[in-house]
């Protein structure tokens, strides 16, 4: 400020000197000169005080730039590390799948082989979440539509397609889901599709399984597995945990029961229910954790 004033005053002085050659305005000229002197003096006093402050500011700017660069580098290192961790988790889960498969080759008992295969598929559904994670942009959320498509295809091939005459149809809208929700949802989806295969089409019957995913308002999305197989017997009151053979309670507890709801709430019927020509299991997933 003072320096700026000094510059202006200097200019004013010189201008006045030129003017006084023609018009003898000595008083005005003297005033301007006095003003310049005052500005010059102020600048002389203020400048030694301000210069170190300016220098410190410049230095601080440099340091903060350095810190930002370091932070960015550390962020990148952490991201790479997290990606690597997800990759390794996925690899370890894939090894567990291999172990289940290899163990299943040591028995001739059909039922035992089937149990191993179910376990393999369950672990695979979890491995797939980690695979989606390390391929994702932000490492915390996945596109559940892509996940569901891959999972459904993998379950289909694990049931020995193309010899099985069941085809898969999917209508999946993109839904971004956090990893902690995707794991239980993936497990439940795996059970539902596997069940449709296992119970819906006995003795090589043909038909189709349809998986739909719709994103609704308020962060709620609807996942639905429907098949046109034999359906569920009317006398059987289906319960989710008994039908799937999986402790649904454990899965849902992990998912937070307020976040995932299986089945039709109105009728109080949790689990797949019979529809005309087949069975249907809707699943409502709340993507945002409800506020208590």
């Amino acid at each position: 400020m003072a320096f700026g004033l000094f510059i202006v005053a200097c200019g004013g002085t010189h201008f006045m000197e030129v003017v006084t050659i023609w018009i003898p305005g000595y008083v005005l000229s003297a005033t301007v000169k006095l003003f310049t002197a005052a500005a010059s003096l102020t600048t002389a006093i203020v400048l030694p005080l301000t210069v170190p402050r300016i220098l410190t500011l410049v230095q601080q700017e440099k340091i903060s730039e350095q810190v930002t660069a370091e932070l960015r580098a550390s962020e990148e290192r952490k991201e790479a590390l997290l990606r690597e961790v997800h990759h390794r988790i996925k690899n370890n889960l894939a090894v567990i799948c291999s172990l289940f498969y290899l163990q299943s080759t040591h028995t001739k008992d059909e039922e035992t082989v089937q149990i191993f295969q179910e376990m393999e598929n369950r672990v695979h559904s979890m491995a797939l979440v980690h695979e989606s994670l390390y391929r994702s942009e932000n490492l915390a959320r996945i596109n559940f539509a892509e996940y569901a498509q891959t999972l459904a295809n993998d379950i289909l091939s694990s049931h020995g397609c193309p010899s099985v005459a069941v085809c898969l149809k999917s209508e999946l809208e993109p839904v971004i889901m956090s990893a902690d929700l995707a794991i239980p949802c993936g497990l439940i989806l795996n059970e539902l599709i596997s069940n449709a295969f296992k119970h819906g089409f006995p003795d090589g019957a043909s038909g189709e399984i349809k998986v739909t995913l719709r994103s609704g308002p308020g962060g709620i999305c609807a996942l639905c597995v429907q098949d046109n197989g034999v359906g569920i017997a009317a006398d059987l009151q289906p319960k989710f945990d008994s039908i799937t053979g999986l402790e649904a309670g454990a899965v849902l507890n992990r998912a937070d029961p307020r976040c995932v709801r299986v089945g039709q709430e109105r009728s109080g019927n949790l689990g797949p229910f019979a529809v005309y020509g087949g069975s249907l299991c809707p699943l409502n997933i709340c993507l945002v954790r409800p506020v208590l």
Binding site: A94, V95, S98, L99, Y101, L102, T105
Partner: protein
Amino acid sequence: MPAEYMPRAPRALIVEDEALIAEELRERLSRIGFFVIAAVDTAR
């Protein structure tokens, strides 16, 4: 040469660094009629 080797069988080479996964692949490929030449852990 393994006993199940048949001249007409399609041949496969497994390249997989995880030994157990390679073993699973060998098992699966043999079951669907492949003759697995070897399982190696790197392409080099």
